[in-house]
Amino acid sequence: MYDKALPQPNYLSEPKGLKSWLLTTDHKRIGLMYFAAIMGAFILGGIFAMLIRIELISPSKVMMGADAYNQVFTLHGAIMIFLFIIPSIPAALGNLILPLMLGAKDVAFPRLNLCSWYIYVFGALFAVYSMFANAVDTGWTFYTPYSSETGTAVISMALAVFILGFSSIFTGLNFIVTIHKLRAPGLTWYKLPLFVWAIYATGILQVMATPVIGITMVLLVLERVAGIGIFDPAMGGDPVLFQHFFWFYSHPAVYIMILPGMGIISELITAFSRKKIFGYKAIAYSSLAIAFISFLVWGHHMFVSGQSRFAAMIFSFLTFFVAVPSAIKVFNWMATLYKGSISFATPMLYALSFLFLFAIGGLTGVFLGALAVDVHLHDTYFVVAHFHYVMMGGTVVALLGGIHYWWPKVFGRMYSEVWGKVCAALVFIGFNVTFLPQFVMGSQGMPRRYYTYPEQYQAMHLFSTIGSWILGVGFLIMTIYLLHSVFKGRIVGKNPWGALTLEWETTSPPSPHNFEATPEVTHGPYDYDKIVVEPT
């Protein structure tokens, strides 16, 4: 029943030529261009991660000095956060899939969409410049007064963050308007796939929170260039003010990173258990609740920074509040599995990995929200492990699941299922070997951002480094089989998974204008109790 050739015309083949890509306003092409860019950033950030892990095999020097190490961990963080994970799911998969899910021809502002890609590239150039021009060594958090004084390229990295912010704001704005205005006839709010709800909540965060980091970075640059004392006490400023500004963005940013991942998981779990989602509205509204509360918890990064005990109490309380909607989502996904028809295809393996890893990431967040315990754990490897479980075990694993899930839609071809499963297992094992020991050494008191460390931690550092190699091998194999499938993969039909959301009703890869005719939506996104679709 499989077609022997890809359907023509499709958005990959028409129109032709480099210019047609660079000037495209097609959301799918822009999504692919974003995908290429963020994968480049991921590889770069990943190389820095491997260098960190190699250096930490031993407490003494392995391959670089202290200053180089400080630069490497800063670049790892800054690149992974600002160039990779924040744009990753919304800008790449969101662009590729969101308009298809809505039955739309494109996003609301296609030219703004292309513009935001160019802004991303422009911002990325500043970051790359900072890498080569005496790389920044402040940590991705740029804490003052260190960042006001250090001799490294803080200004170009701060400007990179400032510029990248606009790319993020434009994408968020574009998606909010698209979701409001371009839904297909019959596609009411409660028939929206949960990925769309998640992107919507993310869009609100992108538009409302990102300006704050932009302004903060401008103030930092002004302090360094013009000597205007805002954060540096030597000039009459207040360094803790910087931390407030920074986390006022960067905590919501955590949810810019994780919410779209949660959206993907809702799609994967329903599609591969062929089951109506349990608690649709609870999941949809918990995304909005998380987005809202996330603006009010920034102070939990600052429990030992000298803020008042009263402020610490309020922030701790609100932090526990944000844990509840996340817990509800996990229970809903679990309940969705009940009496499903569960397949273990590669995307589902990632979804199940996510449940496991995100549970650990979320639960270890409870330790850090508890004031007395956070005093001990703050700025240790426990925190490092916690946010990697959320950001990598959560968002990156969800992203990988989403990539594998929509790959046949985007390219019209299927990757090797065997290698897919092998790599899902390698990523899962490698990740846990890398980061589980970090909870132990963090609890034991190993501070983060340490170039050397007391010998008692060496065994766990060694474990962690070996885990990073397993991860590296997993990603290497994944790159090979995915690239291979783009050219040689088995050609698939419209709907290889038998899923019910709209993007599966058009051809794979879709035509340049997505749908032959505007689809009419008559069923919900997860009506697996009513409708049976044969995989094609």
């Binding site: 202290a66 400080n70 804490y143 007064p145 260190y146 006490p233 030597a234 360094p239 258990s273 062929r274 089951k275 989602i277 349990f278 429990f303 030992v304 920074s305 000298g306 005990r309 610490a312 109490m313 701790s316 526990f320 844990a323 509840v324 509800i328 996990v330 229970f331 679990m334 009496k339 499903g340 028809s341 569960i342 449940l355 549970a359 409870v366 330790f367 929200g369 508890a370 004031l371 007395a372 315990v373 005093v375 001990h376 703050h378 700025d379 132990v440 609890s443 008191g445 501070p447 983060r448 951002r449 170039y451 050397t452 007391p454 038998g498 697996y528 109790d529 009513k530 049976v532 995989p535």
Partner: protein, 316 residues
């Protein structure tokens, strides 16, 4: 030290450490319970309801269960509320300094810790405190933000350049405990380590007396300088045998000619040594990095004289 700590936590050596650990382990076991629950249920469901054969089938419409949904909203909320209150109470105990505490002024500086005692004694990277007595720390930084972290005491507090922050602890046992800097502060952040030496009250008083004694009264300047060379950590960067470390060796330094990074030269005399101690960045010797901190606030007038005399005495 009979307390070895647990697999997860280091030895609990302050009066409040056990309370922190109790909450830590409470959260640990609650988390473990929910984690096992989530993983076990998910595993059971995916194995029990795995797809068999190629046949595409409808699945039942199970999208609500009011009892379950209320249960899994209320139970986590209640548990989190308990943890919040518990954590806040512990935080108050950790951060409100007892009135009768012995106060030590802590100064963080790239990349060492300096401690000033009420008796006028100063020590570097070596904080000596009496066992079983609350110690209040009044802290500030000379440069960037540092963070005072003693894992065995479960205390951590950022040390800021523009204001004082406070912390306190009461050590339960005699022993030596690691003091770490937990806020990234530059090149040697991970070497900004100190020790908290907890001693008996008698030993503490004896140490204090000795330290007060060696403030210099009656001691020849050269001998005092030799003592300060060790106690003020000069030896970490300046050798006495000609070895080049972070800074130039003191051996034969006096009277020799120094060449600076800007190409200028001058003979090493008393005034140059004084300037290099109090304002080390003014002239940096060629071939070295400008990493030496100022000792402006750390040395008394007589101590500067003593160091100068000591360096003068080190003939080539």
């Amino acid at each position: 030290m009979n307390n070895q700590g647990t697999f997860m936590m280091p030895p609990a050596e302050s009066t409040l450490a056990h309370e922190v650990d109790a909450l830590y382990y409470f959260i640990y076991y609650v988390s473990l319970f929910f984690f096992v629950l989530i993983v076990a249920c998910s595993l059971y469901f995916v194995l029990r309801f795995r797809r068999k054969g190629k046949q595409v089938e409808r699945t039942p419409d199970i999208s609500h269960n009011t009892f379950l949904e209320i249960l899994w909203t209320v139970v986590p909320t209640v548990i989190l509320a308990i943890i919040f209150v518990w954590g806040f109470r512990g935080y108050l105990k950790l951060t409100i300094v007892p009135k009768d505490a012995l106060q030590i002024k802590v100064t963080g500086q790239r990349w060492f810790w300096s401690f000033d005692y009420p008796e006028g004694v100063n020590s570097l990277n070596d904080m000596v405190v009496p066992v079983g007595k609350p110690i209040a720390l009044l802290m500030s930084s000379q440069d960037v933000i540092h963070s005072f972290f003693v894992p065995a005491f479960r205390i951590k507090q950022d040390v800021l350049p523009n204001r004082y922050t406070q912390a306190w602890f009461e050590a339960k046992n005699v022993g030596e405990y690691d003091l770490l800097c937990a806020e990234f502060c530059g090149t040697q952040h991970s070497s900004m380590l100190g020790k908290v030496r907890v001693v008996s009250t008698q030993d503490y008083n004896r140490w204090l007396e000795e330290a007060v004694g060696s403030l210099g009264a009656g001691m020849p300047l050269k001998d005092l300088g030799e003592k300060l060379y060790t106690s003020k950590q000069c030896f970490t960067c300046h050798s006495l045998d000609g070895t080049k470390i972070q800074g130039p060796s003191f051996k034969g330094r006096f009277g020799s000619e120094a060449v600076f990074t800007d190409g200028s030269k001058r003979t090493v005399d008393e005034n140059y040594l004084r300037e290099s101690i109090l304002n080390p960045q003014a002239k940096v010797v060629a071939g070295y990095l400008p990493v030496m901190p100022t000792y402006q606030s750390l040395l008394k007038e007589r101590e500067v004289d003593a160091l100068v005399e000591f360096i003068k005495s080190l003939k080539p």
